[in-house]
């Protein structure tokens, strides 16, 4: 293995590890994402219960406010989802990457130093964890898109199909349509995620091979 090859391989390896670190951060941050979404659901339910109870106790709540309630619900849920996505992205951006660049610039001694510092078992565990977080985040994103689009479709269907055209609307078909809509919206993300998980799998295999090779290869400077 020549020095150039070795440096390329090492750069590729460390870049992949940086990526895994980001995904691991994603897995850790996912619980915060769920907490943000759940809090927004609690807020919208509190608003609905509050308005209904005030109405029941004789406070004159105008029909305009009651009519706009589903739109407020969609706004609250959307704000929750976007806050969650921004929070997750910010947390992922706090992961420090390319810290190995200066060491790698030292050439073969730098590569050896980096390899000696590598905790292989820890890396394998991080890849598995990152895969889980990556997959679960994808599922969660689809479910939240599904919820928002179901709400939005219910409001649109209420205004158009029921009030204007006087069609009776089946709630089951509403869930089905919004699910397909959420899948279509996430189609690109879903494909990327599937490919990325496949790449993480092959990365795991490659690293195992790399670890074995490292233990037995004599590097030539």
């Amino acid at each position: 293995m020549t020095e150039e090859n070795l440096l390329d391989k090492m750069a590729e390896f460390k870049t992949a590890i940086d990526q895994v670190k980001k995904y691991r951060k994603l897995a850790i941050t996912m619980i915060d994402f769920v907490l943000i979404i759940v809090t927004s659901i609690i807020l919208l339910l509190t608003l609905n219960i509050g308005v209904n109870i005030l109405n029941l106790h004789g406070f004159d709540i105008s029909s305009t406010i009651l009519g706009l309630l589903p739109i407020f619900d969609i706004i609250i849920l959307s704000v929750g989802v976007f806050t969650g996505i921004i929070f997750v992205n910010r947390k992922m951006n706090t992961v420090t990457t390319l810290q190995w660049k200066n060491t790698l610039d030292e050439g073969t001694p730098g590569v050896l130093k980096l390899l000696q510092e590598t905790n292989w078992e820890n890396i394998f565990s991080e890849i598995r964890y990152a895969k889980l977080g990556f997959a679960l985040y994808g599922v969660l994103k689809i479910v939240t898109y599904w919820l928002i689009s179901a709400f939005a479709f219910a409001v649109i269907a209420g205004f158009t199909f029921v009030n204007i055209f006087h069609f009776s609307f089946n709630i089951g078909s509403l869930w089905m349509v919004s699910f397909v809509f959420a899948l279509v919206l996430n189609a690109k993300d879903l494909r990327n995620r599937y490919e990325q998980i496949g790449r993480l799998d092959s990365l795991l295999l490659e690293f195992r091979w790399f670890e074995r090779e490292f233990r037995r290869t004599d590097f030539q400077a």
């Binding site: 915060d32 907490l35 759940v38 659901i41 609690i42 339910l45 509190t46 209904n52 109405n55 029941l56």
Partner: protein, 160 residues
């Protein structure tokens, strides 16, 4: 791990909120009476439930008469709307499950609030009212409209 417990508490909170929200019932019932057939409107609820409705009685070309259960009567002029509110607060606790069905009252655990329109009802509903821990005389309100009119009962009820 601490965040998972917070999540669990929030999920329990959501489940409770959904239970409360599903115990709130919008009420929107409409009917009409004509000169030959007076209509009696029965608003009933379980003792544990509460409701607040607004009643609109709109006359057309002729005046109509509104008769309340206490004997009071009001004449509504032609082409006008008379509006009044009915408030029936929670008036008792009851344990377990119950349902009662009669021509003026159709109540169950899933349907603790009911509005019925009956034509040519001449009896006193108190004679037909079941009296137990779930339903009492305070859980029912009725009025009769004589003459041609549209009647709308709209509001909100809750199973608590």
């Amino acid at each position: 791990m601490k965040k998972l417990y917070v999540l669990l508490v929030l999920i329990v909170l959501i489940a409770t909120q959904i239970a409360i929200l599903s115990s709130i019932y919008p009420i929107s019932e409409r009917g009409s009476s004509d000169a030959s057939e007076p209509v009696t409107v029965f608003i009933s609820k379980m003792n544990y439930a509460s409701l607040r409705v607004k009643v609109d009685v709109t006359t057309w070309l002729d005046p109509a008469v509104l008769l309340f259960s206490n004997g009071t009567q009001i004449e509504i002029p032609a082409s006008s709307t008379y509006t009044f509110s009915v408030v029936m607060p929670h008036n008792g606790f009851s344990f377990g499950s119950y349902n009662t069905q009669s021509r003026f009252m159709n109540l169950s655990d899933d349907h603790p609030i009911n509005v019925e329109f009956l034509s040519n009802y001449t009896l006193n509903p108190y004679w037909e009212l079941p009296s137990n821990e779930y339903v009492s005389s305070d859980s029912m309100y009725w009025f009769t409209v004589q003459g041609q009119a549209n009647i709308a009962v709209m509001g909100i009820g809750a199973g608590f």
